[in-house]
Symmetry: C2
Subunit: 701 residues, 2 copies
């Protein structure tokens, strides 16, 4: 399905059934507190789980220890009748759907015609308010085109919703739905319901403004506004009374006033996050769509929730948070909305006690962050190879704390939160490495790197280097926090130093090549082009197990490390890694294209940079990997697209020494303008071909 | 709970609730066609799954591709009323339960007393007929001890049974039951029911002989016999009519006649399988219990079923068949009942097409046998580390075919079945090794050996050597089958030779030590005694993941290989392996003690041999690993106990050259007498201290 991508809008005129799931992903709306797939309120549901809506951080147990992000009651649920006939069942024409990225409104319209030739025009406008996050608003405009008749708009809340928990195994499609909710308490204008296992409640209220039934003449329009308020057990106070009050207040305000304050809130968000490119309008629109989706998906005001792998757009991976947040998305927030970045890190800080308990469950010390986390820090991934072995997440989180402090200079946060995270995670690593007395080295055994092919391996470079960096952060933190902090002993610090310096790293000085791990070179070399001729993951055609023994990468691994530490590797090392690994990379993860775009931009490999950037930037909009419809929006790809653009093409880098910009603009971007925060100060950056980058600090926000 | 172990009987007087599950495992009855845990027919059930009964090979899908062994209708279900009071609810005394191993009958009696002091004595005798495998018989004898009153015996079939599918993960206790059956069709004296998903039917009929209600005087006994017949969709013909006919016939026969023919059938089985030891009676009884349980558990007459890891005694591992059958149990059948051994191998032959399809699903060629198999050959293990990496099972099966042919000399079986298995499995291995051009070697990457600790590793010796043997079997088979067989090309054969000779094996000639794999030496050395002070698996106290990085073994690995190829390793190599690996072995698998007993016996390490043998021989009887109650009978331990005794202490070995016996009798066995089949001929073997072993061939059976 082709979307029209405008600088501030995503549009389609395709309302067909075949593209319904894709549309519902692309036109997903969210305000960080809640999210709703882009389904049509007035359509009949085909099952109880696909009209999905979520609240950030709202999970429930589906079995002991394992949660799913809970599909919330459908507050949009509406039936439109024209002359007693359900409009959703009628043939439609003139379908149009428009997502306005400037204010987050979704507009949808069409003309329905019944068997007697009576035409009715329907337009639905909706938004989840960015100004008051508990409020959503819907406007139904129904016009009698060529007839005089009765229009009825029945609206309410559908509580008959279920979950479709999705297996860890990407190849197992689940077919068993699960009802997590108990019976709702319903009253006029609202309901309250609780999950069965943990009694986690949600209150949803709606207020209707306008007549539910109207007799229209030719050309007349009936308008009905529905204002919704939602509170849950995660909000402080009684969700029932808060929802009632919020709904009443919002209804008094009315749709137009709510819309105006929502637009104002979006303006403020765009003010710091927008990227203006002097390029073709589809590219401008797609870049904005990445930014827009990142803005939508972050629980901005909530230090106890993070972002799932598909944000609030889909329940894939049971809504869990991965390294995607810290390594792929966090830089965007860090530079455009540091308060949100801080909250995302606080989620990790607040689950640190779980991470400590987690390490203990793994018979280790310190804090072990989970590969998949939900409302607690406990491991949600149930397989040994991934759940127990893809351990770099712990160092990724420490790295993200480090970057936050470097870029913001937030010393309070360092002393109150980061230092503790560094030390507890360093303790984890100290217990996770295995000492090899024969060679006086430390091995990292049975790990899985970002390249999730290559089985379970040893001494994965990315993991080893990230862990060593984590240990260094802890060592430096102890220098600043002073003796006695968290009862760290000198012996512990010495051990951290020892491991950081003696961890096994395989590097060939002759060729400047860093080896991915101990095993990669033993795998069977193949020519990926002989096996893969499109962008869909190869594991759909070659068994996941077989792929492990081909010398191919699922996604950037050594190159990803270099992207995180651009100053720690020479150009020759980056070039050697690129030449060795890029041709072997299958990009079977949505995390891959953007990472390669970033490195290609850095290395000045123009064709590759363009190719990878477009794939990442249009990943969902063009359904590049053919998985947007049934998986939702790939949030990590949004973030790495931003990084490729800002760190790669714009060449931005911020560290203790300041903010630098060494642009590598491609031909197809004539200029760029964007803002970032550095050390708490907003800066505006302008880049043009043939000119030095301009960094204006101290601008007003 | 202490059992009294007599030469031919297992007894207990403990009828307490605490030991109920243990009793039900130990006193499990089976005749190969059906199995029933040792529960009391007249007790009330506490749930729908723990009074478990199974039919060999009867599985049903619990989700796409994954089956569970189906808990069958409870044909024992009975209520005993004395003066209208349910006896099961009354306090009991004089409890006694006796398993007669000579004829497989289970006897149970006690005296129940009501609040008015009225005592009723109950005795229940039951057996699953070894003479007619579809028939079970129960005799209820109820005696009014000190009162005159009414005795009522209500009996029938309970169709309200459910499954409790158990996760692959040994640490996840499942709590969700699953009803696999549709509504039963019930008629007087029987029922027919089908599973929901695959419409797999079972018909169960019962006939009652005696009065259901009787008025007794002091000291009088009411007797009621219940004769049951069961047929299923797996039997040829209509299960309903066959069950009716079988029940009618058996009822005409009557309990005593059925018992007599059952005893005769058991006599015949014992005649070839019994081991008489001149030793203390508990040891004699325990050895018989191992043999008895092996006889009970094998689907003797069925070439389409094999033995699950817990036989028919428990649904653990979803009733799946592992390498346990071929490597641990098969030798017993091979030497005592070759027809049964042949059927077990035919099960593998009959699932070879699935194994071929399986290999293709793994993007490989040839036939890949599954780590866990049920009624099909498709993989039932859902994890990557075990289900995809513990691949030695394929070579284990080829090895078992090879041993069968060596010991029986069954050339028809070789030509009609084994040769094909050798070639298809060799093709699998040819596609599973990875060529390392730099060193001109073949690596076996990402495998898990019998030692299921040590993560996912490379070049596990056991797996490499077994695979090489598998390739050799195929090469030899081609020499005999001639060109053109199964379209094997010379190129293929050359590749098999090449891999067999260039597969990576790590051996240190100086120390005569074979290395377990590429990684074991890098693991952290610990002293197991510091961590483990009983026989229960350490993974209950140290996380499974952490254990992978300790230099410890779960069970015999290199030593297991040596046990399978006793002639291929020198004493020095065996001794070196023992000295290196045995002290590091945790025996966290029930497969371990017996394997170590066998090797210790071979090496003449008397103390260790005794210790390990007793643990293996009494594994379930003494609940050595504290898991018999909730897991059932460990069938592999039964088999390896037999091997330790016969191959280890009796020193039996059979190959192309003949039957040899080089006894290493310990002090605590003064003599032994047993029979084996060799090349189709029965032989009797007598061993005594200080005497040459006597092998008498051509004896009558």
């Amino acid at each position: 399905m082709e979307l029209k991508i405008k600088p501030w809008r995503i549009e389609t005129t395709d309302g067909s059934l075949e593209t319904k799931d894709f549309r519902e992903s692309i036109f997903c709306q969210a305000n960080g507190y809640m999210g709703m797939r882009g389904y049509a309120p007035e359509d009949r549901k085909v099952n109880n789980y696909s009209r999905a809506a979520f609240l950030a951080g709202f999970y429930e147990y589906i079995r002991p220890g394992i949660t799913d992000m809970v599909n919330q009651p459908d507050v949009s649920s509406t039936t439109l009748l024209a002359n007693g006939i359900d409009i959703s069942a009628l043939p439609k024409e003139g379908f149009k759907q428009v997502l306005n990225m400037r204010d987050g409104t979704l507009y949808r319209c069409y003309t329905a015609e019944d068997t007697q030739g009576r035409k009715t025009h329907v337009a639905v406008t909706r938004f989840l308010s960015m100004a008051r996050r508990h409020v959503a608003a819907f406007r139904f405009e129904v016009t009698s085109v060529n007839h005089a008749g009765t229009i009825t708009i029945e609206t309410g809340i559908d509580s008959a919703v279920e979950n479709l928990p999705i297996s860890d195994n990407q190849l197992n499609e689940n077919t068993e739905t699960s009802r997590l909710w108990g019976e709702p308490e319903v009253h006029t204008g609202g309901l309250y319901m609780e999950t069965v296992v943990s009694k986690r409640g949600v209150a949803a209220e709606y207020r209707v403004i306008g007549n539910k039934s109207a007799v229209l003449n030719h050309g007349e329009t009936a308008v009905l506004d529905k204002i919704v308020a939602i509170y849950s057990f995660r909000d402080e106070g009684d969700p029932r009374s808060m929802a009632i009050q919020a709904a009443d207040t919002a209804a008094t305000f009315g749709f137009d006033a709510l819309l105006a304050e929502n637009a104002e809130a979006w303006d403020a968000l765009w003010n710091t996050a927008d990227i203006e490119v002097d390029a073709d309008e589809a590219l401008q629109g797609a870049i904005r769509y990445n930014v827009f989706s990142l803005i939508q998906t972050a629980p901005h005001n909530d230090p106890h929730a993070s972002i799932g792998a598909r944000g609030l757009s889909h329940g894939r991976y049971k809504g869990c948070t991965f390294w995607d947040t810290e390594i792929f998305m966090l830089p965007f927030y860090l530079f455009t909305n540091p308060a949100t970045a801080k909250n995302l890190l606080l989620y990790r800080y607040h689950t640190m006690q779980d991470a400590i308990e987690s390490a203990s469950r793994f018979s280790l010390t310190g804090a072990r962050y989970s590969w998949m986390a939900s409302d607690t820090g406990f491991e949600q991934c149930e397989t040994w190879d991934t759940g127990c072995c893809e351990i770099h997440i712990t160092a990724d989180i420490a790295y993200a704390f480090g970057r936050y402090i470097e870029v913001t200079g937030d010393e309070d946060f360092f002393a109150q939160h980061a230092a503790e995270v560094y030390i507890q995670t360093a303790r984890y690593w100290a217990s996770r490495f295995t000492y090899d007395a024969a060679d006086d080295r430390y091995n990292l055994l049975f790990v899985k790197g970002p390249d999730e092919y290559c089985g379970v391996t040893n001494n994965n470079l990315y993991t080893v280097k990230m862990a060593a960096h984590n240990l260094q952060l802890a060592i430096s933190a102890m220098e600043r926090m002073g003796q006695g902090f968290l009862n760290v002993t000198d012996e512990e610090i010495n051990r951290w130093r020892e491991i950081a310096s003696k961890a096994v790293v395989r590097y060939d000085a002759d060729t400047c090549l860093y080896h991915q791990d101990d095993v990669f070179h033993l795998l069977e070399p193949i020519n990926p082009a002989d096996y893969k001729d499109d962008n869909t993951p190869l594991y759909h055609r070659i068994s996941f197990d077989r792929l492990q023994r081909y010398q191919v990468l699922k996604q950037a691994d050594v190159l990803m490390l270099m992207a995180l530490f651009p100053k720690n590797f020479t150009d020759a090392q980056k070039q050697a890694a690129w030449s060795h690994y890029e041709p072997k990379t299958l990009h079977d993860s949505t995390l891959s294209f953007g990472a390669h775009a970033l490195m290609a931009a850095t290395l000045g490999i123009a064709g590759k940079a363009e190719d990878y950037f477009y794939k990442s930037c249009f990943l969902d909009l063009k359904n590049v990997m053919a998985n947007t419809a049934h998986e939702g929006i790939h949030t990590a790809a949004l973030g790495i697209t931003w990084q490729a653009l800002i760190f790669g093409f714009a060449g931005l880098w911020a560290d203790g020494d300041g903010l630098h910009c060494d642009p590598k603009l491609p031909q197809w971007i004539r200029g760029m303008r964007f803002r970032v925060f550095h050390k708490g100060r907003p800066c505006q950056i302008r880049i043009k071909h043939g000119e030095e980058a301009q960094i204006n600090q101290h601008i007003g926000t």
